[in-house]
Amino acid sequence: MSQLKKVTLKTFRFNAETDYLPYYKHYTMEVGKDELILDLLNRIKWEHDGSFSYRRSCRHGICGACAIKVNGKATLACKVNALELVELFGDELVIEPSSKKRAIKDMIIDKSDFWEKHAAVKPYVVSEIDPRPEHESKQSIEEFNNFLDSDLCIQCGACHYSCPALEVNDAFLGPAALNTAYRFTVDTRDEAGDERLEITAEGGSGVWDCVKCFECAEACPKEINPIEKIGKLHNLQFVRGIAESNVATRHAEGFLRGMKKTGYLDEADIVTYSEGYLGMYKHLGTAFKMMKVGKIHWHSGIPFINSIPKIKNLDEVQKLIEISQTNKL
């Protein structure tokens, strides 16, 4: 019994029907080495307050119902050992719903935004099905492996509600929906890949609004790495010729312009090239401020012209770009 550790659960409480604001209640309990976060949620309900509410079902990490946050860390309650989190955060654990602003009651949140975005990417195989097939619809191991890990998504919302871009931009599809879009787009039985790539190429909602923070990779309890799939969707837009020339795609491709000339990114050129000369005016104020303090260099007497040093052996970079480039805008 010496294994028990005293832990305080600072727990988010809120009932949208009766409470004006959420509040926190502290529950202190002795926690054993085999207890999961879900066990602690059960103990709050069973030993302290029967009105405490949370979602749970399978207890095996597969239904995705019990995703919450502990000290800000996305946590599938039935999968995570409580004392491991105590080791990381100390003996006060802050128990909160996945998204505080969507709380309905305690840990239970309104996930309708998640499901709307899930539905928006056509999360199913689109195919003309032959009612009298003469052979099986076979896939090779390689074709299957292309989407195997992305298919493991349990729609728990851990990545979705850890995504800072989504917190700021309601239109953004988010990592879970984009992972699903990838999963069906690379399925060889599917015929709606290009359509999905167009949906996910949309400015404001698609892949180009990902901020590249890797919160989703960290949050996923199934180790899917959603941002890696977002990267693959970026690539596929160029591979399949879906990418249109816009500020985001030029920003990605435009890195090569500077690299061919000097080996480095050309910071001024990437802004001008991505935005276009008309869009550039937005940045003039910042450019002046940067010039004033010497962040934009004047080696040649004229700003932006020949202001960047060249790397040694630049010809190697030029040659490698020439022989290794696989995509075009």
């Binding site: 990381l88 590249k212 890797f214 985001a248 910071e267």
Partner: protein, 298 residues
């Protein structure tokens, strides 16, 4: 006596362009601590995760080329930008775990007489200072204790996430509760500010295509630091620095509240405490005025 530390420095693009103060303060700190630095003048841009969106294979080839030059010297490659660290480490991880990809990349590299072997480690300067030089030794060298300053550590995403990629290079820093920068601030006798946003995203990477998102993310972090009494913010990433230093006027407009907070590069803070010269520290290159820190520190 232990052997002198010697690293191959991958400067990245910003240190050669808009943040010269990052390079000068890095070299000054290394000099003060007796760390030998060889600059990889052959190294090109890492692609900053944007070239990777366009052409992943090409980005691997170019990053592998950079790493080749550190391998030739037989040295650990150190970075002074989180995004350089991420993209170089991603290429290293991909090539070291996928022999087929490694062979394809080496086929291209052979055309310019290079071969990627996988013999050099890649580490951010922050972690070489802590893990290899040592905080105790840094503490002994402090000439200007930063005890008058409340310093908000801002870790930057690409040094701490994805944790699986970085765990060898960053002392198993936990992305939900990082401590390295806090410990460095304490070693310099500064007061680390505890605030929620320290491990959050600054929004730099969508500055052009999703400007509002970018401004709000940076604004949230800056104001969180201000509300927790920070006198300045410090970051190991020059892209976080550029976003949060250069755009405070426009961020203030979006947030509906003025923001005035100096944002220092990690080596600038160390250089300040080690008594390096103002020219080496280069606070004059900041858009948000920071030169008062020279007197405030001492």
């Amino acid at each position: 006596m232990s052997e002198q530390l010697h690293y191959a420095l991958f400067t990245g693009c910003t240190a050669k362009q808009s943040t010269p103060e990052l390079l000068s303060s890095t070299l000054a700190v290394a000099d003060k601590l007796g760390i030998k630095i060889t600059i990889l003048e052959e190294a090109s841009c890492c692609g900053a995760s944007h070239l990777q969106d366009f052409d992943e294979f090409l980005a691997h080839v170019l990053n592998a080329r950079n790493i080749c030059y550190a391998e030739k010297l037989g040295l650990t490659m150190i970075t002074i930008c989180n995004t350089c660290q991420l993209n170089s480490a991603m290429t290293k991880h991909a090539l070291d775990h996928d022999p087929e990809l490694k062979a394809k990349v080496n086929e291209k590299l052979a055309e310019v007489g290079l071969e990627y072997k996988g013999t050099s480690e890649i580490k951010h300067f922050l972690y070489t200072l802590i893990d290899e030089y040592g905080l105790d030794k840094i503490k002994d060298k402090v000439e200007v204790p930063l005890s008058h300053l409340n310093i908000a550590p801002f870790y930057g995403c690409h040094n701490i996430r994805p944790s699986e990629l970085h765990e060898e290079a960053n002392g198993r820093e936990n992305p939900y509760n990082p401590t390295s920068l806090d410990n460095l601030i304490s070693a310099l006798e500064g007061n680390p500010v505890n605030y929620e946003s320290k491990n959050k995203c600054c929004g730099f990477h969508v500055e052009l295509q999703a400007n509002h998102t970018s401004e709000v993310l940076a604004g949230n972090a800056l104001l969180d630091a201000v509300d927790n009494n920070a006198d300045l913010m410090v970051t190991p990433c020059p892209l976080c620095h550029l976003k949060m230093d250069t755009y405070q006027d426009s961020i203030g407009k979006v947030m509906g509240r003025d923001v005035e907070l100096p944002v220092l590069h990690m080596p600038q803070m160390v250089a300040l405490a080690l008594g390096c010269t103002e020219k080496e520290i280069g606070l004059n290159f900041h858009v948000q005025k920071a030169k008062h820190l020279y007197t405030q520190a001492s």
